[in-house]
Symmetry: C2
């Protein structure tokens, strides 16, 4: 950061030194892991460090290529915005992440490989026949775990491909909303083949009426999962528009999910859901690695933009770990700000209130602060019902409504996003301040959500997943 | 084709009718397959038909978006080449293909799912416990087959991502040569976990000396597979440059591989390698579907270009089916023209002879025919050894060498590609004629290769794979 570099795409000397040191440490740890016991969590941490270093450097190096390929944009919330910044850096994150997670595949299965190949006393005798006909002694290998792992990777690769397509071709909002649905297909297909668990545990109060503890939702459950796959990536994608906000919210959610996973690993007795939560950590740690590297470039004042690819990818990571780990309800608790933002956006998303191309907060070049952006009504006034709802929202402080004092007509309303609402509440803020406050809110809401999940769930359900009960 | 359409991106009425009819038939077949026995090969055929229809339409529809995103090029071998044509249409093929193959995942496992869920007499009793704890009764399910299937998809998605990156960013030749190596990682990792078969059958004559029938190559075998992964996609990519040639060679190789697969399915007794070859067919049929659709747009005179993505993707399909199906040696026999083209190109690829940016045949605008393109030597004459080799190649009719009669200096040599060599042999040809002749040659060489493989292999190995012997 400090030393001026010869080219803007070079790493500075201090960056080179620290990234090399990090990479060296991670390589050493990884090599030791491979030789020794093969503790996969350590390997995952080391690979996440490597992912950070690789992603940090590649974002710097490849920026100009992205600009040359037309993937670029201007920062609307800066005084001096004549320079074009590289867009769609999430594609680099996703590719680095996928490479790392693919290399990681053997680690969680290391012990199983060793057991499968050296198990059986008379190995040399059996060897030639078994080895040639079927490869390793396969019956002991946890192939269903492997298949889950691979299907998660396929879903993540699909969302990356579709996200890059979106960033390249500027797909219309109504169409791109369904992009994650395609990426959910591998996940659902594998879920269908491999788990087929479509029952949900009923809340205790409902059990006497239904007469059972579990309710089989059948194909509705696949609908639920598909809706989840569509919602999560899109909800990250619409809480966007200021430097760093996409990455910050994703990092908070990933950290909270990882924290939740760790809770299951530190129980005094082996928990039946340990495997699911290890699986989740394996996917979250490298994601945190690439996300922190992206944040370093995308934080205020941003030198790169993340693109829809990153938002979709982040949302899909959360879906993948929570569906395959069977804790999708927990994820919903962590997505509360996103859910609020989506519900709050509905009037504009569904055209009840006019929706401009961009709804990001308005940059006031004189003060250097962000203010709520507005929809102007002018001659075309809202429908009577909508008008009264707008006035009601205004009184509830859930909207800024500017009224012409003479005619009583609505002049303008703030746009329906959580970022604008926050500015309505807090007054004009500098861009980084707004991003950090939203991040703090996301963290607080998420921690409270986890508290509810683990402490209050027992009021509604007979057993907490955290207990020894069933792991659905 | 016949009716002029309102917009060039619309399908003509006859195209719409025939594609809709095809899609309808395929949907019906697919629906019947799903209800009935679930015969996966029929489902694969139906999905391939759908892939053809989807790809044919999407290439037409999305062309302008690709041009707008900067993915475009001019056809150098046409008189009227002022129009820019969309480039990188292979990306559409790959995405359609991947979607289809992902949807196809449950079909080959349909019978296993049915057996696993309805097996066991006392299903209702066991159900609640087993179902909740572990999902379906998993022990009967062929998870290793599923894992192979998924790893193949991951490799194909990886090569698609990297291929699109290559098409977007114009990566240098020396770097992009190794792109397929990254995409091979998932394949090798799964091979390591799942098969671990690293022995090769030794030719009969060598067996007495080595003292065994099988030779375990250990990690060398992974090197062999990685080299194979790098070679196959690149070899398709360098046999390129005239309308349709990339798609035509890929279709020929795919058809020959499919023909070889069918040979194993029609044996009077159940063959041990049947599963491998069914697996291969499942991957080849949709590839043929998307490739024929691409060919319709890319054949002379081309209205779209395929891009590196298609070449890499095609090459990777061949690698995936042959490695996971254990018939990589067969693929080598089908790639003989590509191998020849690569070996023949080596002097230019490795800089012994100057290599211009493009080595595609030269278009003579006066005659409308293609002629061999040349490297001019001028003042900088080749090294003495290289000069004599060039003269030798000229005498062997493997190169056109133009010599200054006065000084004896080499003026120009034809470029080292099989397309230029063919033109040296056959004289100037029209572009489509050249493409078809090369395709006919590829077919003849491939058929001869399969003949050798099945008839003459017995001279070198004790058993043909086609026999009841081992299936390595």
């Amino acid at each position: 950061m400090s030393t001026p570099s010869t080219k803007p795409t070079d790493l500075t000397r201090s960056e080179t030194l620290s990234l090399s040191a990090l990479a060296l440490v991670c390589f050493t740890v990884l090599a030791n892991t491979f030789q020794g016991e093969g503790e996969p969590l350590i390997a995952s941490l080391a690979l996440s460090g490597l992912a950070f270093a690789a992603n940090y450097s590649m974002i710097r190096w490849l920026g100009p290529s992205f600009i040359k390929a037309g993937l670029k944009g201007r920062d609307m919330a800066k005084v001096n915005n004549k320079y074009e910044l590289p867009e769609c850096m999430g594609a680099i994150c996703a590719v680095v992440y996928l490479l790392v997670i693919i290399i990681f595949i053997p680690f969680p299965f290391y012990k199983d490989i060793v057991v499968a190949t050296s198990g059986g006393g008379n190995r040399d005798v059996v060897m030639n026949v078994e080895y040639v006909q079927k490869g390793r002694l396969l019956h002991k290998f946890p192939h269903s775990k492997l298949a889950s792992f691979l299907s998660a990777i396929i879903s993540l690769q699909s969302i990356t491909l579709l996200g890059i397509g979106d960033d390249l071709f500027d797909i219309r909002w109504r169409h791109k909303f369904f992009i994650p649905a395609f990426a959910s297909i591998p996940l659902l297909v594998i879920y269908f083949i491999d788990f087929g668990v479509t029952s949900v545990v009923l809340p205790t109060v409902l059990q006497p009426y239904v007469g059972r503890e579990l309710l089989d939702l059948g194909f509705l459950y696949y609908g639920y999962m598909a809706a989840f796959c569509i919602f999560s990536p899109n909800s990250i994608n619409i809480l966007a528009g200021i430097n760093g906000i996409e990455v910050l919210q994703s990092i908070v959610i990933a950290l909270l999910l990882a924290f939740n996973d760790v809770l299951y690993l530190v129980t005094p007795y082996p928990h039946p859901a340990t495997d699911s939560h290890l699986f989740s950590l394996y996917f979250l740690l490298p994601f945190l690695g690439v996300s922190f590297a992206l944040l370093a470039h995308n934080k205020y004042p941003a030198r790169v933009f993340v693109g829809d690819t990153y938002c979709y990818f982040a949302g899909m990571i959360f879906v993948v770990v929570s569906i395959l780990g069977h804790f999708s309800k927990t994820l919903i608790l962590l997505l509360v700000p996103q859910i609020f933002n989506f519900v709050y956006s509905v009037p504009q998303l569904f055209g009840l209130v006019p929706c401009p191309r961009h709804r990001l907060p308005h940059f006031n070049a004189r003060t250097g602060l962000l203010e709520p952006s507005v929809t102007k009504w002018g001659d075309k006034q809202p429908h009577l019902i909508i008008e009264s709802v707008l006035h009601l929202l205004g009184r509830l402080k859930l909207l800024r409504v500017k009224v012409d004092n003479d005619t009583g007509r609505i002049l303008e309303t703030s746009n329906f996003t959580i970022l604008n609402l926050w500015l309505v509440w807090r007054g004009p803020l500098r861009e980084d301040r707004l991003a950090w406050e939203i991040t703090a809110m996301q963290t607080a809401v998420g921690l409270f959500g986890l508290f509810i999940r683990h402490r209050l769930a027992l009021l509604v359900f007979r057993e907490d997943n955290w207990g020894i009960g069933s792991a659905v």
